[in-house]
């Protein structure tokens, strides 16, 4: 049983960490694409007309699918002033309340997100910006983003239950340093 949970956590964490590279390459591509677009407009008066539109949607894509990754490294911004003084058990109880909030969000994203995806598919809605992408494709970022953070949340939730019962951690997450030696502090934005 325990090994199933650990295996589940490993898979989910791996998927979410893979998002870092997918989004990283996308942002790199966005930067180059927009720079070319600027040059095309400034020198040739003929920008692409789709680059900015793609980047704007891509920003939503990137932001939404990274929720799970940030969760996996425990960096969602929180006021840890009191939190860090609590025992592991109390922290887990609070994290369970936090999971309930998260699951409400995830449930809405997945359920209504897919509802909109199918609706836009059925009516054949197409983005009027430059990309002319089908709207249902664009809307996939909502249910997928929700699913990614939801799975990570579920994995964390399982550990919280385990901690409350046994008082010990379930996954070996100590020593996970992600941003390398220059790690940005805990839970802040800029």
């Amino acid at each position: 049983m325990k090994s199933i949970f650990i295996g589940f956590n490993n898979i989910v964490t791996k998927i979410n960490k893979a998002m870092v590279y997918i989004t990283g390459i996308f942002v790199l591509f966005m930067s180059i694409m927009l720079t070319i677009d600027v040059l095309l407009r400034y020198f040739l008066n003929s920008p692409t007309g789709w680059a900015f539109d793609l980047a704007t949607w891509g920003t939503g894509l990137v932001g939404l699918v990274l929720g799970g990754y940030v969760m996996s490294i425990g960096k969602h911004v929180r006021v840890d002033f009191f939190f860090e003084k609590f025992s592991l058990r109390v922290q887990s109880i609070i994290d369970m309340i936090s999971a309930l909030f998260l699951f409400l969000i995830v449930f809405s994203f997945v359920w209504l997100g897919f509802d909109y995806v199918t609706h836009y598919y059925n009516i054949g809605a197409v983005s009027t910006g430059g990309t002319q992408m089908p709207l249902w494709v664009q809307w996939l970022i909502i249910p997928i983003g929700g699913l990614l953070i939801g799975l990570q949340g579920l994995s964390k939730f399982i550990e919280d239950i385990y901690i409350i019962i046994t008082g010990k951690k379930l996954y070996d997450t100590d020593g996970v340093t992600v941003t390398g030696s220059n790690s940005v502090g805990s839970g802040e934005v800029v």
Binding site: V20, Y21, T23, G24, I25, V27, L28, M30, S31, I32, L34, T35, D37, V38, Y42, F52, A55, G58, T59, V62, G63, L64, L66, G67, Y69, V70, K75, H76, V77, R78, V79, F81, F83, E84, F86, I94, S98, L100, F101, L102, L104, I105, S108, L112, G113, W139, I141, I149, V178, T179, G180, N182, S183, V184, G185, S186, G187, E188, V189, V190
Partner: protein
């Protein structure tokens, strides 16, 4: 239901769950879904939540965020700070307190390149601090100038906080960028003067380098070549906006590509570095966007329940000079800023403040700058401040207590800058005005 009661439930539950340590974005999102269900006709409010999340995250103004964050990440991992610091060391090392003032100067230059506080603070903390300590500089002074200088990253353009403010208040990000330049210089100058005076009064806090260790003029000038790349990045970003080549958003892309080139030239574009750049970009983006999702939902609940309007009416209806109201808002924000991240604080207060500011007919660009200075204070003010935690991360040998006590003088100086900008709005409006003609 009585509006005051609804307001108490809305705000009270937010404070309670956040204080417990539930992530800000989940708290705002979860509360909004529950209260939305109750006060906003049940299921349709969930549609509102999902639609709002999609439109906010794909809002054109926010396209700037991944670009500027990526740019910051590139600069962070290309070790530019090392070379810049070498310049300061060679030029100002011989003056008493010179390194402290020079570090502030480099911070300002760094701030003009990146829009996030964490990058300048972390890099300078790693580069400048050991060197200053080795030269016998006072630890508190060293910590203070680095943290204070780093926080200017959001006041001197480009700036992530300004982009988020522009999106909330529907003002031009470009106008905010230009408006922040002079106040940023004012604050940096105050820091430098302070550092110099402290060392003048207490020579042991900032000794000059011994004569025999000083650099020749030739060595000084040679070091300047490392300023070229940072200058080029600044010129590319701010110049392209100013000259109308690129919009502020596009300038982020141009800056990112420029920084990539610079990193390549310096042979810093290795795979491990690229990986670190991606990791940093992903972390900041993911956490900002998941606050945004909660914040947009919360803002809508504040609207639909009428609490926001009631608050705005309460504030504007008070028989007080509108300046007092403005000051109370800032004090309120500063208090929140003591406990929570400034971008999160902005997103929490915006639904209450922006309508009230509109009603009182304050210039939102000018207010935006004052607000960003308040964010700088928020980053420094204990107990919760980005700059403080990063400093603690980089300077592991120092206690958080020492860090807390090191920032106070700079918090005061920032408040002084804020007062100066309030009294002389021209400091914000002058540069955009001049650039127009």
């Amino acid at each position: 239901m009585d509006i005051a009661l609804v307001g108490t439930i809305l705000f009270g539950s937010l404070v309670l769950f956040m204080a417990l340590g539930i992530p800000v974005g989940f708290t705002m999102g979860g509360i909004s879904l529950i209260l939305g269900f109750v006060f906003w006709d049940g299921l349709p409010s969930i549609d509102g939540f999902v639609l709002g999340s999609y439109s906010k995250t794909t809002q054109a103004v926010l396209t700037a965020l991944p670009l500027y964050i990526f740019m910051a990440a590139i600069l962070m991992y290309s070790d530019l700070a090392d070379d810049l610091y070498e310049v300061v060391y060679r030029w100002f090392g011989g003056v008493r307190g010179g390194l402290a003032a020079g570090t502030t100067f480099i911070s300002a230059v760094f701030a003009a390149m990146v829009g996030v506080v964490s990058v300048s603070t972390a890099t300078l903390g790693m580069v400048a601090r050991p060197s200053m300590l080795k030269r016998g500089y006072d630890d508190k002074l060293t910590l203070g100038v680095i943290m204070a200088g780093g926080t200017l990253g959001i006041l001197i353009p480009p700036s992530i906080v300004m982009i988020v403010f522009a999106s909330e208040a529907e003002v031009s990000a470009g106008a905010l960028f230009m408006g922040g330049v002079i106040p940023g210089i004012v604050a940096a100058t105050l820091f430098m003067i302070y550092a110099y005076i402290v060392c003048l009064l207490n020579p042991e806090k900032g000794p000059a380098i011994p004569k025999e260790e000083r650099f020749t003029w030739k060595e000084k000038f040679v070091s300047l070549k490392s300023v070229i790349i940072p200058l080029a990045v600044i010129i590319v970003v701010l110049g392209s906006i100013y000259l109308g080549v690129a919009t502020p958003t596009e300038a982020g892309a141009v800056g990112a590509v420029g920084s990539l080139v610079a990193a390549g030239v310096r042979r810093k574009l290795t795979l491990p570095n690229l990986k670190n750049m991606f990791l940093m970009t992903a972390e900041l983006l993911g956490l900002i966007f998941w606050i945004l999702i909660g914040a947009v939902a919360y803002a809508r609940i504040v609207s639909v329940t009428g609490v926001g309007q009631a608050f705005a009416e309460l504030i504007t209806g008070v028989d007080l000079n509108r300046w007092w109201i403005l000051i109370f808002m800032i004090i309120f924000f500063l208090i929140i800023g003591m406990f929570i991240d400034t971008v999160a604080a902005l997103l929490i207060t915006a639904p209450f403040f922006i309508p009230a500011l509109h009603a009182m007919q304050f210039d939102l660009v000018w207010f935006g700058i004052i607000f960003v200075i308040a964010c700088c204070v928020g980053n420094l003010s204990p107990p919760f401040g980005v700059s403080l935690f990063i400093m603690k991360g980089v300077a592991e040998d120092v206690s958080i207590k020492t860090i807390y006590s090191a920032v106070w003088p700079f918090v005061v100086l920032l408040l002084l800058s804020m007062i100066i900008v309030m009294i002389f709005p021209q400091l914000v409006t002058w540069l955009p005005e001049v650039m127009r003609n």
